[in-house]
């Protein structure tokens, strides 16, 4: 130990903090805090991408860091805040499984993905290969948040967090995707959030609630 350069340690620390934020999202009961955590996740991702860009001298990663900052730290949280303000929803997040159980499942997922990623990271190259396990754990945990929450807004935040985790996986495993692809994904996410916003109003108009379990009752019988 002590042989790894300081910059790698710093990247490791940022990656661990990302995992911590996903865990905090998993344990979170309030929708407002969830959106703030999502903004923090974006901020950490920006910092992480910028540090990776600096340490590997890949200048296109600076652009994706800037893109992350504008889109995921400023624009999307602002949109979500406006959305829940207009929907006037400040309820506590309702979970399908209680939170301690969810967190235990989360730990199991972390162990699973760390084991799964161990052989993959042997094949990968570059300084950030140890992070594939963390990225995979973040992806799976975002999926878990989507699965265990009832309300549409929370699921959208989980979806955006999933996208963040995938972006992080791409940065750490393959030194980032081509810039065109990243722009495409960023645009997709932005458009998706707008469409989700419209969906929220539609769902609420039809069912008087944002609880998506009501959608199962659509069948005629």
């Amino acid at each position: 130990m002590g042989t790894t350069p300081f910059i790698v340690q710093f990247i490791d620390l940022l990656a661990s903090l990302l995992l911590l934020i996903v865990f905090a999202m998993l344990a979170q009961r309030r929708i407002l805090s969830l959106i703030n955590l999502f903004a923090w996740q974006g901020a950490l991702l920006t910092l992480n991408t910028a540090v990776v860009a600096y340490s590997t001298a890949q200048h296109h990663l600076y652009y994706s860091a800037a893109l992350t900052l504008v889109l995921k730290v400023l624009l999307l949280p602002w949109l979500l805040h406006r959305l829940i303000h207009r929907l006037n929803v400040r309820w506590e997040v309702e979970t399908l499984i209680n939170i301690p159980t969810t967190m235990l499942v989360g730990i199991a997922l972390v162990i699973f993905s760390f084991n799964l990623a161990a052989p993959i990271s042997e094949l990968a190259e570059g300084i950030t290969r140890g992070l594939i396990g963390i990225a995979l754990a973040c992806v799976l945990m975002s999926l878990l948040i989507m699965l265990t929450r009832r309300k549409a807004v929370t699921q959208v935040v989980a979806f955006l967090s999933l996208e963040n985790s995938l972006f992080f996986a791409a940065t750490s495993a393959t030194q980032g995707m081509p810039l065109v692809v990243e722009f495409g994904i960023a645009l997709d996410v932005l458009v998706a959030t707008f469409i989700f916003g419209i969906f929220f109003f539609q769902i609420r108009e039809t069912f008087d609630s944002l609880d998506i379990t009501h959608m199962e009752k659509l069948k005629d019988d």
Partner: protein
């Protein structure tokens, strides 16, 4: 026969630490209370208030229930002794003190557990409703906090390959600076354990005697005078010990080595600064958080345990 000078010196360091800790512990509690008062826009009773309380209590006559057994009488002394011993094991002003070889971190957790067991038994001894209520709640909180604390200590032990606190501190403080992501998780878990174990706000409120919420105060309700003084003093010592463990694990930089007189003033200064900051931070945490329902406490402490486990996992993945 003269003992060799090195041993004598180590014992002098050890005794200095023992005296310093036992005298400074109420001061730390006073500082935390004072910071809290300032944060809540009150003027506060001053940092010396715990000493005044102790002085007052020691002069009073002790009143003991008729049906109290010997257990009830000796518990304050045992609790005080345990906490003092714990403070002697932890490297506070210097590493490699002679007492610290007597016990590693697991034994340290055991010392805390021994004190807790006695105080819970003594609370049940008199047979009042509040006593057994407090004891049961205390055991609920502590049986969840203890594994989390052990996991935190294990994370630090994995990094330094030793369960001896001096070894851990030596590795973290005197080698080149390394960022350990696993310790970030452990630190977070440790803060939660510290709040729970020291009867601090989200889990317990030390400043009220409201029967529905109190845990620690409910257990010591039957104590008076010198017994109460010892228990209060032991609580201060416990807080001091916990904060010192936190400093030793997560901020050990600047600690002196035995026999190094030149490094001692700097070590004292840094220790004072760290304690002041930790106390102010604790007061801030307590002010911004709300007391949670007792049935939320398992979830709170479960989070601490999971964070500590996550720290261990991260250590395995990243090797740091």
């Amino acid at each position: 026969m003269m003992p060799d000078p090195e041993t004598t010196l180590a014992i002098v360091f050890q005794l200095t630490q023992l005296l310093l800790v036992v005298l400074a512990a109420p001061l730390l509690s006073g500082w935390v209370n004072q910071c809290q008062a300032w944060l809540q826009n009150r003027s506060g009773a001053g940092v010396l208030q715990p000493y005044r309380v102790l002085h007052k209590l020691f002069r009073k006559d002790a009143v003991i229930a008729h049906n109290a057994s010997w257990l009830f009488r000796i518990t304050p002394y045992i609790v005080f002794g345990c906490m003092w011993l714990a403070a002697a094991i932890i490297p506070i002003i210097a590493v490699d003190l002679p007492f610290s070889r007597a016990a590693d971190v697991i034994a340290l957790v055991g010392v805390f557990a021994l004190a807790r067991m006695f105080i819970a038994l003594a609370a049940m001894d008199v047979g009042t409703a509040f006593g057994s209520l407090g004891a049961r709640r205390e055991m609920l909180v502590s049986f969840l906090a203890e594994p989390a604390l052990l996991m935190v200590l294990f994370t630090a032990s994995m990094i330094s390959h030793s369960t001896q606190l001096p070894r851990i501190v030596e590795l973290l403080a005197h080698h080149e600076f390394v960022l350990y992501p696993s310790l970030a998780f452990a630190a977070l878990a440790f803060v939660i354990v510290l709040l729970a174990e020291n009867a601090r706000i989200p889990v317990d409120n030390p400043s009220t005697h409201l029967e529905l919420t109190m845990i620690h105060e409910a257990m010591i309700l039957e104590y008076s005078a010198r017994h109460l003084a010892l228990i209060e003093w032991a609580s201060s010592l416990k807080l001091f010990a916990y904060i010192s463990i936190g400093i030793a694990l997560f901020l050990p930089h600047g600690i002196a080595e035995v026999g190094n007189w030149a490094a001692l003033p700097l070590a004292f200064g840094l220790l004072l600064l760290k304690l002041l900051l930790a106390g102010a931070g604790l007061a801030l945490l307590e002010t911004v958080m709300a007391k949670m329902r007792i049935f939320r406490a398992p979830e709170f402490l479960g989070t601490a345990f999971l964070l500590a486990v996550l720290g261990l996992l991260i250590h395995f993945l990243l090797g740091a």
